[in-house]
Structures are given as C-alpha cells and as structure tokens.
C-alpha cells in the first residue's frame, strides 16, 4: 500500500435526520403485503457543503464570516453550517446570534441584504431538539442575490429572537409564524395571533395539529376527512 492510496479517514458529517420512511410504497395503516414493509430509510436533509461553494456563494460567505469576526464573534459559533443545495445558499444560524447576523447581513456594504422576504415556519416533528425551524429569505436588491437563513428551536423552548428591529417587515410574518407554529419571537413589539381568532386554542399548522376536516357525507356513503383517509406518501 503506497502513500498515495491510503483511504482517507472518515469524518463524521453531521446530517439532519428529520424522519423515517417505512416500506417502499408509502402506504400506512393497512398491512403491507408487498414484502417491503420492513424497509426503513431515514429522511435526511441536505448536509453541510464544503468550500469552495462556487459562484458568488464564497464571496458572501467570506464577507459574512469576516464581518462577524470583526465584531468579535466566532463565525463557527454563530453559523452552524452552510448548505448549498439546488443552487441556493443557506446559513444555519444559532438562534442566540440571529439578530447580530441579520444586522450584519443588512448593513455590511458587501452583503447588503435590504429586503427580508418574511419568515416561514417548518415543523419537523421527528427531529428531537430542533423541531421548529424558522426560515428567512433575504434578498439583496443592490447585488441581486438571494440567500436563506435558517434558525431552529426545540419544541420545549420555542423561543427565537425577533428580527423586527432589523427588518420591520417581519412584524406580520413573525406574528403569522407564532400563530401557526407557536414560535415565540422574543422582542417582537406585539406578538399576537394574526390569522386565527384571538381565543383559538393551539397552533394549527404544526404537524401535531390535525387538519381538522369533517367526514363528507354522500348519498349512501361517507368518506373520512382528508387527513384520515388511507394514503400513500
């Protein structure tokens, strides 16, 4: 075995497993007669990318990391991982540093992401400790770029700092994410329900909240609500 072909040491890449898929055909409930019922495959979100990212992604990542370092913040501490997937750049930011990162993204002349396109909550029910994701899309009109910032919070402590002080446009967006997912945005000026009535119980777009449909009656028959039907996913 020469030096040239020693296998590289395996580094454990942290991947985000958000669930398991059973069987081959996505059927649930009824017995799987296909013989593939025992098949279990994890659902893995795209893992972190390594340099070079390609295109303008490197430039933005360098600028952001440099700017954070200037402010005395360790970039590796603030940015959990950087993911390039399907031509989109995603920074996974730790929630305690979200405010500083977003302010840097907005104010640094080389970054200048002036326009925040709101926050979209995603609820990964089977990703313990990181159930709630808040996904921000930021657009730079100056540089015509688009990036994504993702922050997670556990269900047990659903707190994420509010970015309304940086991007006032997120006022309603954060209220919406609170209303639908129960993510509490600390520092939001008035975090109240926006879509549902004030006395509504629960946060309806979480995965553990049922769809809430009723069975549909036909002449001589009845079919269950869409979330109760037998289905293949």
């Amino acid at each position: 075995m020469s030096d040239g072909n020693i296998p590289a040491t395996r580094t454990e890449i942290p991947v985000e497993v958000v669930g398991n898929r059973q069987g081959m055909f996505g059927g649930r409930g009824t017995g799987d007669t296909s013989g593939f019922g025992g098949l279990v495959a994890p659902i893995v979100l795209p893992g972190p990318s390594s340099r070079p990212y390609g295109g303008w992604f490197d430039e933005v990542a360098d600028e952001l990391e440099g700017a954070l370092e200037e402010q005395g913040l360790d970039p590796a501490d603030a940015i959990e991982k950087t993911v390039i997937d399907r031509g989109e750049l995603t920074f996974h930011v730790r929630r305690e540093h979200l405010l500083q990162v977003s302010r840097t993204l907005r104010d640094d002349p080389a970054l200048r992401f002036e326009l925040c396109l709101g926050v979209s909550g995603v609820h990964y029910l089977s990703d313990p400790g990181r159930e709630l994701h808040a996904v921000y899309h930021l657009r730079s009109i100056t540089h015509t770029r688009l990036i994504r910032v993702e922050v997670t919070a556990p269900d047990a402590d659903p707190h994420i700092p509010s970015v309304v002080s940086v991007y006032p446009t997120n006022d309603w967006h954060e209220r919406e994410a609170y209303d639908f997912f129960g993510i509490v945005f600390d520092g939001h000026p008035a975090l109240t329900r926006i879509m549902m009535p004030d006395d509504w119980l629960g946060h309806p777009q979480r995965k553990d909240y049922p769809l809430g449909g009723i069975p549909v009656e036909y002449k001589g028959a009845q079919i269950p609500a869409p979330d109760q039907r037998r289905s293949y996913t």
Partner: protein, 184 residues
C-alpha cells in the same frame, strides 16, 4: 311582518301573497357580502357584460339594514362566521340568503380547521349555488330561481302551515349517508 300576516286563510290571503311576492321579488336589494373568488364573479355579474341591472338589482347595498338578500360569496372562515351572523341579524325581515359557490355551501375543497363547512351552520340558506366559482350566468340563474321562490312564498297562516309541514318532512327524512337504493 305586518298586518298581512294576521289575515285569515282564504282567498284574501292568497291574493295578498301573490301581490306581496310580486312586489318583493321585483325589488331585491343584495347586501355586499363578497368574501373570496366568488365576490369577483359577483361583481362581474353586476358589471357591464352580464348586467344585473336587467333584473333591477345592480345596486349592492353597503348597509345590511337596507338589504334583503345576502349573497354569501366565498369561503367563510371561523373568524368571519360571527361577523356574517351579525350582518344577517342586522338585515330587516323578510330576508333571503344565497350561498354562492361550493365553499359557502359545503366547505368545498377546504375541508379543514379554518373554514366553516357550509354557511348553513350559521344562517338559513334559500339557494345553494354550486361552482368554483360559479359563472355569472349561474348566479343570475340562482337569483331568478330565488325570484320564483319569493313569488310563491306563503304568508301568515299559510306560512306557518308550510313551515310545520317542512319540519315534519325533515324529521321523517332519511339522513343522506343512510340513503340506499337508486342514488340520484
């Protein structure tokens, strides 16, 4: 609502019924209750091409107090339901309701936590109008059918009798999901 309701059953009441029905159907004033997609088609019906003015009802009343027809045009959310009922309560009798589109009639494709599964849970409905959204022609057809219904609406004793009969029939009726045989 007035003295006509006190009339004894007979020739006089029937004549008053015909006259009152004719007068009522000829001057319907819809309240604007546009909610979603159907509201756009409702406005289209009032505008140039379909011209609801031909039936004397192009003026949509902003105030429910001046209206006697509520066209519930669109999906009714749980948050909107109390408002809808309040607007209905504010309308003066006699009043009619057209449930325009599947969402208003049955919840339609939105069988979920947010939408009331049929506006008849909140207000009594006279005409259910299917479609997503119904074409303006369909809305006009529904309105003409309602005109017909209003024309033949009984008053006073006759009305009470008709209501009692309807209730009796409804109590005896087989629930939809238990109907068997030729399903049409």
């Amino acid at each position: 609502m007035g003295i006509e309701e006190k009339l004894p059953s007979g020739f006089l009441l029937t004549s008053v019924e015909t006259a009152a029905g004719w007068v009522r159907k000829a001057s319907l004033f819809p309240a604007t209750f546009g909610l979603a997609c159907c509201a756009i088609e409702m406005m289209t019906t009032g505008a140039g091409r379909y011209d609801l003015a031909r039936f004397g009802m192009e003026v949509f009343r902003g105030s429910p107090r001046q209206a006697d027809l509520m066209i519930v045009a669109g999906r009714v959310s749980q948050k909107m339901a109390p408002v809808l009922r309040q607007v209905y309560d504010q309308m003066a009798n006699p009043k009619w309701v057209i449930s325009m589109g599947v969402c208003a009639s049955s919840g339609g494709m939105f069988n979920n936590y947010a939408i009331v599964q049929g506006v008849d849970h909140i207000v009594p409905v006279d005409i259910y109008l299917p479609g997503c959204p119904p074409r303006p022609e369909m809305l006009m057809d529904a309105i003409l059918k309602l005109h017909d219904k209003i024309q033949h609406e009984p008053l006073g004793v006759n009305k009470r009798r008709a209501q009692e009969l309807a209730e009796e029939l409804a109590l005896e009726a087989v629930p939809t999901s238990e109907m068997r045989g030729l399903l049409r």
